[in-house]
């Protein structure tokens, strides 16, 4: 069964996934809104950058993050100058890595939701003298609720399943950076297959439930919109 270390990893994974999801929604929502409304020539390149983590192999992303966060990297020099030390091998470092890694999974559903609203509801709000900010909060955001939910679920699940990035910048420290996926990997490499099965089985069950929720949500998406 699961021992103390395994539970520690499970708890840490849930903490990481929850924080990542909350922060991602705060970052991704304005970004998705801008991408859905703007006609700027920066739209295409920024959209491409946001999608990049989807394409890059996680070990590549992790390696760049490691270099970036190191004492010679720009981010590392910034955090050192601020007296925070370097971010690699810390929970904060993992959090930043996870946010970057799951960014497209949060931005894209929200952006699609905003785009599918169309211009008319917002024009109607404008004719009723709603300010753009007011229109965003009282019209666009409620209408985009299914997209926000999808984004939250995908970000959470994707962070739980994250492996390559954590492996590269984590340093496998119990209670700080050792999450379920790296714990499973360690068990498999050490040929402790029984322990690996318990954790991996739990992960399969968890992922199935998440994806089930997602597809049920999508089917009811129309009624949520109404």
């Amino acid at each position: 069964m699961l021992d103390h270390h395994a539970w520690q990893a499970v708890w840490l994974t849930l903490e990481l996934a929850t924080l990542t999801t909350v922060l991602l929604l705060l970052v991704a929502t304005p970004l998705a809104w801008w991408l859905s409304q703007t006609r700027s020539r920066w739209r295409a390149p920024i959209s491409a950058v946001v999608t990049l983590p989807l394409v890059l192999p996680p070990t590549v992303l992790g390696f760049y993050l490691l270099v970036l966060m190191g004492p010679q990297g720009p981010l590392g020099q910034l955090t050192l100058a601020l007296g925070w030390g370097t971010l690699s091998f810390t929970f904060t470092g993992l959090l930043i890595g996870s946010i970057i890694f799951s960014l497209p999974f949060a931005v894209q559903p929200i952006q699609h939701a905003f785009e599918s609203i169309g211009a008319r509801p917002l024009e109607a709000a404008a004719t009723l003298r709603a300010s753009p900010l007011d229109a965003f909060f009282s019209v666009a955001l409620p209408l985009a609720r299914p997209g926000l939910l999808t984004a939250a679920i995908l970000s959470f699940a994707h962070t739980v399943g994250e492996f390559g990035v954590v492996l590269m910048i984590g340093g496998n420290i119990p209670g700080k950076t050792r999450v379920v996926s790296t714990q499973i990997y360690g068990h498999v490499e050490a040929m402790e297959y029984a322990q690996a099965h318990w954790l991996a089985g739990g992960m399969v069950a968890f992922s199935f439930v998440v994806l089930l929720c997602l597809s049920l949500l999508k089917r009811n998406g129309a009624s949520v919109m109404r």
Binding site: F63, L66, V67, M69, G70, P71, Q72, G73, G76, G85, T86, S88, F89, L167, M168, G171, N172, I173, T182, Y185, G186, V188, E189, A190, M191
Partner: protein
């Protein structure tokens, strides 16, 4: 080149591939560079073709147990080949030690590590990298060294662990960890340190890191397998292995 010589040369090259075979070889990641060099010489000399796969020994074990097509294994330890032989996955009596890994405490920064390892006692660093002692022989050796020095507990809060020795090297090379225990073969070429500062850990402080090779069940009838094992024990291969900082 004269026509006669050309014909003779062609004859030489043609005669070798008559018994040329293809051989699938699994090689421990830490032995990548020397193996590539040795393989090129071996192929030239025998006409056989080697398909080299580099990876972690633990992963190779799982793959071999589940039908991977490897015919020879060059492991990073001596336990895995012994276990495979016991479990009937290898050809009995073919196992031998092809290299002995050496441990080094290394920093990319010149002057940070002194040649007696005193820096470990000062503790004047925030992090120290080592390979996961459970997974990697070099990690286990690093742990034995620290235990022998009586520093394992004092430094444990500063540990950052790589899942293998390659990743551990990366942590130190990118200076995310100021120093760490890596394989001498990673920071050593042509008989000297390539950069930074290092302490060669005395071999009295850790058990020898024996790296064993084994012919696997799938390679039993492949003549190239036995030839490769013999070649690795020859002087040419040994010279290459030593030049990368391994003992023999």
């Amino acid at each position: 080149m004269k026509p006669v010589a050309a014909v003779l040369m062609a004859g030489l090259f043609l005669s070798a591939p008559l018994q040329a075979a293809e051989l699938s070889v699994a090689v421990a990641a830490n032995f990548t560079a020397p193996m590539q060099k040795i393989a090129a010489a071996f192929e030239k000399e025998t006409g056989h073709k080697l398909a080299l796969s580099f990876g972690s020994t633990g992963k190779f074990y799982a793959q071999i147990k589940n039908g991977a097509p490897f015919e020879v294994l060059f492991a990073a330890d001596d336990e895995t080949p012994a276990r495979l032989e016991r479990e009937g996955e290898g050809v009995a009596g073919t196992r031998f030690t092809y290299a002995i890994g050496k441990l080094v405490l290394w920093s990319k920064q010149p002057g940070l590590v002194d040649d007696k390892g005193e820096v470990l006692r000062t503790g004047s660093f925030e992090r120290i990298a080592l390979a996961d002692p459970k997974l990697a022989p070099y990690g286990a050796a690093a742990m034995q060294t620290l235990t022998q020095l009586g520093l394992a507990d004092a430094l444990s809060s500063k540990f950052v662990q790589g899942e293998n020795i390659g990743q551990t090297y990366q942590f130190v090379a990118t200076q995310n960890a100021p120093l760490g225990f890596v394989a001498l073969s990673q920071v050593y070429a042509e008989g000297r340190l390539t950069e930074g500062s290092a302490w060669m850990v005395p071999e009295t402080l850790y058990e020898p890191i024996r790296q064993d090779a084994l012919i696997l069940a799938k390679g039993k009838d492949n003549t190239a397998a036995a030839e490769l094992m013999r070649y690795l024990q020859g002087d040419a291969a040994k010279a290459v292995i030593r030049s990368y900082g391994y003992g023999l």
